[in-house]
């Protein structure tokens, strides 16, 4: 009995160019691991750098929490360095960790392997992308050592506060931050060009667009967003730099600073907010879209089910990407905007929830009646769905002007964006690292340690952010060093803050277990099966594990099917790799593939 999935169809021809010219395989240590043009090595360089600076940001969050949980107990934490910790934590986590890790790390590792390419199309540019990113990180780190320390004006860098006397880091700190952001964007653009053009031009034969794994779709669309949105931050940083150093008045109005008349006049602080959020809101999706894509693949693989509504998932990614450019002003409801404007942006914000909800439904429907394996990557994927739904729902509150205005600048907002934009993507990052760890290192991680890591992180982050919503409901404002005796803040807030701090310390310490597991397993872990999860995508079908220079040996793979052929009725195995032709699929008695030849 022939099964319908093998009915002959015509597919769009694959986009295949001539075999790309690979840079020669380096054999020296420097060529192989330092100035390397191989996307896989660049991915690891990105990942290590992003993780290192991410750990700095994690430490800064503990500094903040210690002050909030146990005020005035630590003499080293004063109002200035508290604000500096707040600002640097936010900026590092959003830009230098999440963006760099998703696009520079996973993008570099997965795009060529998943689309069946030997490498990125512009390897030298790709290498330069990493080195400029590293330079950006070093300049950022240098700001910690600048006179006055790093900026303390908040991660949103709002003028005139951030460049006004009295704000921490107003000397060298803010200048180094702006320079670092500029460098980051230049470096990212080099990498981003590679990701987009590799997806468009270097797919192997048979890898039509609608056969690409959703991971690639997510990273691809996020890169498109980043390439178009980061210029807003670039321009804003440049203008702020000129305002601060040369005395132009793009953003700075005439002011009295500590009794002195400033030299600026007529600048518009609101203009900065528009530019910042024109980048800032797409940034949410620059982080979220790769997470959406990756989690789709994790769920399908570990539930042994084809993804529900693949085409809908692709179009949802495109729709979210496009809509993300018309919602930025919902971050500015309290800036005094025209009410009609607020109504417009509330509407677009609610509309963007539609494709996002489609994705959530499809993940749940993929899990429905799946052969779910509660592996470590799957635990993190499920953890992501819970966290993202929680964070997304509070986003619906904040998207409405009338609800947002009283909650604006309270801990409710902090809790919301940490759930949706910090914890949810980090869940995916952890899941993805565990999922692809056997491919990257050739070793298996310790599963028990992985599960402990999941439960401590998942429950711990809920212990942090759930109570934070209630603190926000009470109207407790964010970014305050100390609250003292404030009439509307009840005593229980302090108890909750102490509880949150303890939970945050537990979660932070748990990450040591994660890093230890990665390092220990790399050195001493069991050798991994080349395809331990029995996955279908091309990266698991490489002749070597880990993949070597050129990825696929002498011949590039040919793709015959989409990446979600799990539990195909009649097939002997519960997965069929993308590069297996229909006539080679082993079928159970009574089933016969009718392949079109």
């Amino acid at each position: 009995m022939a099964h319908s999935i093998y009915d002959a169809v015509s597919t769009a021809p694959p986009a295949e160019g001539p075999e790309m010219e690979l840079p020669p395989h380096a054999h020296s240590f420097i060529g192989k691991y330092v100035f390397c043009q191989d996307a896989k090595v660049i991915a690891i360089q990105y990942a290590i750098t992003a993780t290192a600076i991410g750990l700095v940001a994690l430490a800064l969050s503990i500094v903040m929490r210690l002050q909030l949980g146990f005020p005035d107990s630590f003499s080293l934490i004063d109002p200035s360095n508290y604000l500096q910790a707040v600002s640097m934590h936010g900026m590092i986590m959003v830009v230098y960790l999440l963006t760099a890790l998703f696009l520079g790390g996973f993008g570099n590792y997965l795009i060529p392997l998943m689309v069946g390419a030997r490498d990125m199309v512009f390897p030298w540019l790709n290498m330069m992308s990493f080195w400029i990113y590293l330079l950006a990180v070093l300049v950022l780190v240098a700001s910690f050592f600048a006179p006055g320390g790093p900026t303390g004006g908040g991660w949103t860098l709002y003028p005139p506060q951030v460049v006004s006397p009295g704000t921490p880091g107003v000397g060298g700190g803010i200048i180094l931050m702006l320079v670092s952001l500029g460098l980051f964007i230049i470096g990212f653009t080099m990498g981003g060009l590679n990701y987009v053009v590799t997806v468009l031009q270097a797919r192997t034969r048979g890898m039509t667009l609608m056969r690409m794994p959703l991971t690639v779709w997510g990273i691809f669309m996020a890169t498109v967003l980043a390439l178009l949105a980061f210029p807003a931050l670039f321009v804003a940083a440049l203008m702020m730099l000129l305002d601060h150093t040369i005395g132009t008045s793009f953003f700075l109005p005439s002011m009295l600073n500590l009794g002195e008349q400033s030299e600026h006049s007529g600048g518009s602080p609101l203009l900065f907010q528009h530019l910042f959020w024109f980048f800032g809101h797409p940034e949410v999706y620059i982080v979220a879209l790769p997470a959406f894509g990756i989690v789709s693949d994790l769920i399908a693989t570990h539930a042994r089910r084809n993804i529900f509504g693949y085409r809908m998932m692709v179009w949802a990614i495109i729709a979210i990407g496009a809509l993300s450019f018309v919602v930025w002003a919902h971050h500015m409801y309290v800036s005094g905007m025209n009410p009609y404007f607020g109504f417009l942006f509330a509407t677009t914000t609610l509309i963007i929830a539609v494709p996002t909800a489609i994705k959530v439904y499809n993940w749940v429907l993929t899990l429905w009646r799946g052969n779910i394996r509660l592996t470590v990557p799957m635990l993190f994927a499920i953890g992501f769905i819970f966290t993202f739904v929680n964070g997304g729902l509070t986003g619906l509150f904040l998207g409405n002007v009338t609800v947002d205005v009283p909650l604006s600048d309270t801990y409710f907002v902090v809790a919301h964006f940490h759930m949706v934009m910090a914890v949810a993507p980090i869940m995916v990052i952890f899941g993805a690292i565990y999922h692809w760890y056997p491919k990257i290192t050739g070793r298996m991680f310790n599963e028990t340690a992985g599960k402990i890591h999941f439960w401590m992180t998942f429950l711990g982050t809920y212990a942090i952010y759930y109570p934070m919503h209630y603190i926000g409901f009470e109207g407790v404002p964010r970014r305050y060093y100390a609250y003292g005796e404030t009439a509307f803040i009840s005593d229980s807030v302090q108890t909750l803050n102490a509880f949150i701090t303890i939970a945050a310390i537990v979660v932070a310490v748990t990450q040591i277990l994660f890093i230890f597991n990665l390092v220990w397993s790399w050195l001493y872990g069991d050798e991994a099966d080349p395809n331990p999860w029995k996955a279908t995508t091309l990266e698991w079908q490489t002749p070597h594990n880990p993949p070597q220079h050129g990825n696929f040996g002498p011949e590039l793979p040919v793709v015959y099917r989409w990446p979600y052929d799990y539990s195909v009725p009649g097939a002997k195995d519960d997965f069929i790799p993308q590069n297996v032709p229909p006539e080679q699929v082993e079928m159970l008695p009574g089933y016969a593939p009718a392949a079109k030849s």
């Binding site: 769009a12 986009a15 034969r205 804003a236 440049l238 132009t248 518009s268 079109k596």
Partner: protein
Amino acid sequence: MTITLAFLALLMAAFAGWLVRQSVGVQPWIADSQTAALPPQQVSLTASPVGLAVFLAVVTSVFGLTISAYVMRMAAAPEWDFLPQPPLLWINGALLVLASLALQTAWSAARQANAQRFAQSLGFGAACTVAFIAGQVLLWRELSGAGYSMARYVGSAFFVLMGALHALHMLGGLYALLRVVLRLQRGVALPQVREAVGLCAIYWHYLLLVWAVLFTVLFVGAEPLYAWCRS
């Protein structure tokens, strides 16, 4: 932001239209053997032109957002000091037009394997470009000397910001041209650099277009633009 949004809407519409053609009627869950039998397909474009197209979209976003910022800043200003239009401004524009024409000629010469015309036009184009950049610096100094300092006049600050961004992109183009020349010096045949020269020519035409827009909004069209912003 309307200007940038219009550009993005166009870009997204083109992208969605292209994707519709790729996805409508396709049933991705169905496997087939046809792909194995297909001869290797040569795509119509190589990676470099696609890379340039993507890069130009990024550059458009940079300048679109800068112009949006300029317009929003104008709208917020109760009064605006318009920049003068010294002769050097027009000379610079003419130099860039000449550079663009020279690059087009070089591309044409490369297609015809006419080495002499190629070298002449490439050299002339590069010289005009260098002169344009130098001219922009002189123009900035002239405006500053006339009292239009960046600190006092925001219009002048926007000119320097946009002009510097534009000049940096021109310098990037000169670097690409230099790489073409170095390849030729290493013995690469002229037809083999045809694509690279073509891409440089397209880049020059694009930057000429950008300068034409900047020239309009910063100088010749600043007054009507301001009136429109304030209305």
